[in-house]
Amino acid sequence: MGCHLAVDTDERGEMKVTGNRCVRGEQYAREEIFNPKRVVTFTCAAVLPDGSVPGPESNLPRRVPVRTTIAFPKERIPELLGALRGMTIRLPAVRGSVVLKKALDTEVDVIVARSIASE
């Protein structure tokens, strides 16, 4: 799975990536060194349309999976998780719907990863 990249600097101090088989590898290596990013996935508490929590007898899930649309700056992930921990998502949930727009003033949204009905 994937390539084994090596990163070095040449005689002029320019960054040099080897081992990549396509252009994505070089972009990844550059980003991984200067501005590492990760896709963040998490689950938020589900609430029913009336605001209550699905009970133990319910077939509905108690958590709704969410994800960032694209990779998020790594050093700010703890801050993002803090925002997600307190969040609830009202059922029905629709895959792809935005639950946190431009999270922490980045260009990254947090979206629902699975459609879940409310009954």
Partner: protein, 416 residues
């Protein structure tokens, strides 16, 4: 007892079961999926992390997203799925297959068919399987169970965690627990190399500064009511170095020590199981030793990517459809393992068709070459920059590669 009849029955509604059912349906056969859980999707539903679908959809999806794409396809084709349904038995009755199953809505059911696809997935190995000494306190979980508790039930199983085994689920849980505010103190691996994918070592351990102790064994678990800590002993040249043993305090131990194909049903039905994979023996069409019963996905052999599961399952579904229409291979030749190969899947090759093979390396090696030998002569070879046991290998043999094959020919796959 309710009686149903379909051309084919698929046991298990995860990625493998859905992919196989779609293929059968596309070829005009009626198919019923039997699924134990409340929803289709199988284990993908609790795998909320991303990295699925790079081969299948050419994008990075989370497990639930990957599952939902298949689920929507199954729904749009009106393929029937019986949820909350547990299969109890598979039998041959009157020249047909009978699947006995039970669900709260229907009670006991008997589903008759001409073909069955086994797609039950796999189970986690647990503490009993690897015989860790020590007390038996609360706080010891398999990584997948912890994953279900955190991602689906919404519970945190503990605060100070040690992970035994460096399988992918354990690595994923190291990150998940860290993101949930827990402290993961270490990952302990008995082998000298990690069992999980490289990307998971980087993103789930290195990102959080979690130490990975390779060539180390957990030799004791302490605690009366709740886990209080573990003892870790280094292994040098195959021997336990007891004088170098150390303790790590923790309240939770997660086990990620391998997966075993779930073949209780297959065994009870008298289907032959292979010791190298713990899955059914299958021919070039992925058909087991019970004619008309096919296997695919993790019940056949443990895969590291769901994309490979889907590919294999589609093949099983297409082969089952061909079988239902009366196709039988004219001849098959044996596939066997050569140097440094643990297993080759499947174990038979049809020289008149395209054959997709999966195999696993026994070794970690750079600049390796994968060689296909037909009766000792190399007919295909491929350079591989890096191989390791945790990353499955694949290759495709076309009829031209096997043109010289005779009745008793053997194909050997070797890593040199």
């Amino acid at each position: 007892m309710k009686q149903l009849t379909f051309d084919a029955v698929v046991i298990g509604g995860g990625a493998a079961g859905m992919a196989a059912a779609l293929e059968l349906d596309a070829r005009g056969h009626s198919v019923l999926i039997l699924e134990r859980e409340d929803t289709l999707g199988g284990i993908l539903m609790q795998c909320i992390h991303n990295g699925f679908g790079l081969i299948e959809f050419n994008e990075e999806l989370t497990g639930p997203e990957f599952a939902q794409r298949f689920e929507e396809e199954v729904g749009s084709r009106h393929i029937q799925a019986s949820l909350r349904t547990t299969v109890l038995d598979i039998r041959e009755e009157g020249g047909l297959k009978a699947v006995y199953c039970v669900s709260p809505a229907q009670g006991m059911m008997r589903v008759e068919s001409r073909a069955i696809i086994l797609a039950m997935g796999c189970r986690e190995r647990n503490r009993g399987n690897i015989r860790i000494p020590g007390t038996r306190p609360a706080g010891i979980y398999t990584a997948g169970l912890a994953q279900r508790l955190v991602n689906i039930e919404g519970y945190i199983p503990g605060r100070d965690v040690v992970i035994i085994g460096s399988g992918d689920i354990g690595l994923i849980m190291a990150r998940r627990m860290s993101w949930s505010g827990c402290k993961v103190h270490a990952v302990i691996e008995i082998l000298p190399y990690p069992s999980g994918l490289t990307r998971n070592i980087v993103q789930c351990l290195n990102d959080f500064g979690i130490p990975l102790h390779l060539s180390h064994l957990v030799t004791d678990i302490y605690g009366e009511d709740r886990v209080e800590g573990i003892e870790v002993t280094p292994i040098e040249s195959g021997a336990l170095m007891h004088e170098k043993a150390f303790k790590i305090a923790c309240d939770t131990v997660l086990l990620s020590v391998g997966l075993v194909p779930e073949n209780e049903l297959s065994r009870n039905a008298g289907i032959e199981i292979q010791p190298t994979t713990n899955g059914p023996w299958v021919d070039s069409a992925l058909m087991t030793t019970m004619p008309g019963v096919f296997a695919c996905g993790n019940v056949l052999h443990v895969h590291d990517l769901v994309d490979y599961v889907a590919e294999e399952a589609r093949r099983a579904g297409a082969n089952a459809a061909a079988w239902l229409s009366g196709y039988r291979p004219a001849r098959e030749i044996r596939a066997k393992t050569g140097s440094n190969i643990r297993y080759v899947m499947p174990m038979r090759i049809n020289p008149e068709r395209e054959n997709r093979l999966y195999m696993r390396s026994l070794v970690v090696k750079n600049d390796a070459r994968l060689e296909v030998r037909l009766d000792g002569n190399v007919v295909k070879s491929r350079k591989l920059a890096h191989v390791q046991p945790s990353e499955m290998l694949s290759l495709t043999l076309i009829p031209e590669d096997l043109a010289a094959a005779g009745r008793d020919s053997t194909v050997e796959i070797a890593l040199v």
